[in-house]
């Protein structure tokens, strides 16, 4: 490692991020996935401007109809265009995935890193707090948060994130525990670097791999959680919809109107696949231990 640092001085060092970007570009699957995610984001954000329908525009006389030229993905029992609803639902689902995961990342990573790096009594205390929060029935915890936050669904996203960070904190802590025994951390001590600098510049980048993998796993979790909370009347309220809600409704009429389950499910799984491949690619790309080429 020290040799690598020495070499960098000579060949004009590139940053971790530039390296990562370089490596990511070489990973074809990750690039395709990233493009796919971009498409889905465009589909959800820009798509609704191009459909002829509104997400709550009903045509009860038409009712549930199979995919046709007028309604590419068919309509639901109230005659609403499924394509439009999947687009709008995507906004909610992607937003909840992004917000909640970001929140859980921020809290979990910082919490776990601090706990693991400082160690001793602080570590002990912080981890017991996590244990206590783990023991709280999860749903009740979210509902309590909702009582404080009201029924604003943007706040709900943060509330979900605020309860999803526990596992992240533990994973990061365990990584940090092993990292802090490494020589390069000893070196930072010798150099007299402040704690926050060590944690942010040296510890966390080295723990990025598992963090990213877990983050990509958190996204589907929070999307499905949002659907569940919406059913309880805490999340997005009808006629607004999300992928989770569309799928839940689709399951109920699976035998009668299979397209109502099929299309939202394909969209959701497609997104999750892409996210996972991209996460994989990012993990490889961001791993500072991978030798440069």
């Amino acid at each position: 490692m020290s040799e690598a640092i020495a070499l960098q001085e000579y060949e004009k060092g590139t940053s971790l991020w530039a390296d990562a970007w370089h490596r990511l570009q070489k990973n074809r699957l990750a690039v395709i996935s990233a493009a796919g995610i971009l498409c889905i984001v465009c589909f959800a954000v820009i798509g609704p401007w191009f459909t002829a329908y509104d997400y709550d525009q009903q045509d009860t006389a038409l009712g549930a109809s199979a995919p046709s030229a007028a309604h590419w993905l068919g309509t639901d029992p109230l005659g609403r265009d499924l394509l439009t609803r999947v687009m709008y639902g995507g906004r909610v689902s992607l937003l909840v995935g992004l917000c909640a995961t970001t929140v859980s990342l921020l809290i979990g990573v910082l919490y776990g890193a601090i706990s693991g790096f400082i160690g001793g009594r602080v570590d002990h205390f912080l981890m017991r707090v996590v244990d206590v929060l783990y023991a709280l029935p999860f749903t009740i915890f979210v509902i309590i948060l909702m009582v404080f936050f009201g029924r604003n669904f943007i706040l709900l996203f943060f509330a979900i994130g605020a309860v999803e960070w526990l596992t992240m904190a533990r994973i990061v802590r365990s990584q940090v525990l092993s990292l802090r025994e490494k020589e390069f951390v000893e070196a930072t001590t010798v150099l007299g670097l402040p704690h926050h600098h060590v944690i942010l510049r040296h510890i966390i980048p080295n723990a990025l791999g598992p963090i990213i993998v877990y983050a990509t796993l958190t996204i589907p979790q929070v999307m499905l959680l949002e659907a569940f909370l919406s059913f309880l009347g805490l999340g997005v309220q009808p006629p607004m919809s999300s992928w989770g809600i569309l799928i839940k409704e689709g399951v109920e009429t699976m035998e009668e109107y299979p397209w109502l389950l099929l299309f939202p499910s394909i969209t959701l799984t497609g997104t999750l696949f892409a996210l996972n491949f991209l996460g994989d690619g990012l993990r490889d790309a961001l791993d500072p231990r991978v030798s440069k080429d």
């Binding site: 549930a64 109230l78 309220q237 009808p238 109920e252």
Partner: protein
Amino acid sequence: MNRLLVFALALAGCVALAAGCGGGATDDGKKVLRVGNRSEVQDLDPHLCTGVAEQRALASIFQGLADLDLATMKPIPGAAASWTISEDGLVYTFALQPNGKWSNGDPVVAGDFLYAYKRMLTPALGSEYAYMLHCLKNAKAYNEGTLTDFGQVGVKVVDDATLELTLEAPTPYFLSMQIHYSWFPVPQKAIEAFGEMTTRGSEWTRPGNHVGNGPFKLKDWRPDEVLAVERNPNYWNAGSVKLDEVQFYPISNEQTEERMFRNGELDLTYTVPMFKIESYRKEHPELLQIHPYLGSYFYRFNLTRKPFDDVRVRQAFSLALNREEIAANVCKAGEQPAHFFTPPNTAGYTSQHQVETNIEKAKALLAEAGYPNGQGLPPVEILYNSSETDKIFAETVQNMWQGSLGATITLRNQDYKIYLDSMTGLNYDIARSMWIGDVVDPVNFLECFLTGGGNNRTGFASPEFDAAIRAAYAEPDVAKREAHLQSAEKILLENAVIAPVFFYTQKFLQDPKVKNVVPNLLGQYAWQDIDIVEPAA
């Protein structure tokens, strides 16, 4: 290899165990009927209930003075073996069943009924359904606290086996009302073993403590899981009871209920999911039951809140509902659009006043109220109970109101009990509501909206309306009585206290092995008559 074997064995064990536990209704020769019952019962104290699920369950463990022959809708002997009615139709003298007993073996005596009526009418108990008893002489005054001597109320114990009831006015449906839980006798000893007469929610209704006089007695009650009642050997007509046990499952999710029925875990369901009706019609018409039902689906307005304190806003909302479209396109079981509250031809009565659908008029009224095109109208929330069907209706009317009135409508769903509390506490703007008749008489629908009534839940208080209902109570002449009811319904609709949507049909799934279920307007079940006959193998 070894590990695999252990795993396989464990799996086999699980399967065997599951098979052993599952079992059919008549595993050990017992006839067990498993019924979907929608929601968890509020209580098993007949004086503290308001729901339909409660009626179904309570009718198995209690019995009123008279029962109903569900095929003819004529009264038949219940806890009373016979009765005589005075010529003016005011005094009913009941002779109780000579071997009528409570489930603990105590005899059912006339005093038990007196105790029950007294408890029901005592203001301190705060029973929502107390007004059902107001047809008894002086009962209203006692219930409202203006009369404190119960001796003046028209209930008289002649002797242990004879009860004499005196009414305020001839009430044609008085006997058929006895099937409703507000008229059921309650066991004084059991109640007072766990509290005062007016203690709400005491332990007496728990398994082991509960005492009833119905064909079944309480066996097990696990909230949100199952309510099981078993044959009551002390029932006066125990020999005629065919089932050994009835299990009521509180399954609020219609999809779940339908799936359980398909898996053979239920014999009789509460309802059928809307979207399954078509496929049942096509594939299993023998399981699908659709029958007329005395029920109204409507939206309540909260008259104590802005903007619905203004009658013009309420009228506008009611006028903007396209009931034909809802009934024809959204409902799937032949429901009829409702332009008034009481279902048509309820004991010969059909409201003459009708609410129409007229978007132009609705807009004009809204503008007159100060909200042209919905401008300035505060966001309005529709409250409904967490159910897929009600969500669909809520979304439909939301769309109608937003589209035609320019109102901002949000939806909110709550668990059934919380939803009821919110309605009672007037903590809503618009609430999805329904009323299923307790007796086949229009007054049963209209009296809900008496000032201060437990089922009013709108804040509606109109002396003219109350006067019309009271006049109908007191009127012996059928034609004049109907005129009073007509004017009451007119007041209700003109004030747009509610916006009627459609009239229910009763729809449920029934396993062919279940016999003697008699479909009727009230959705009542005579559990003592129902039988299970396993098809010959």
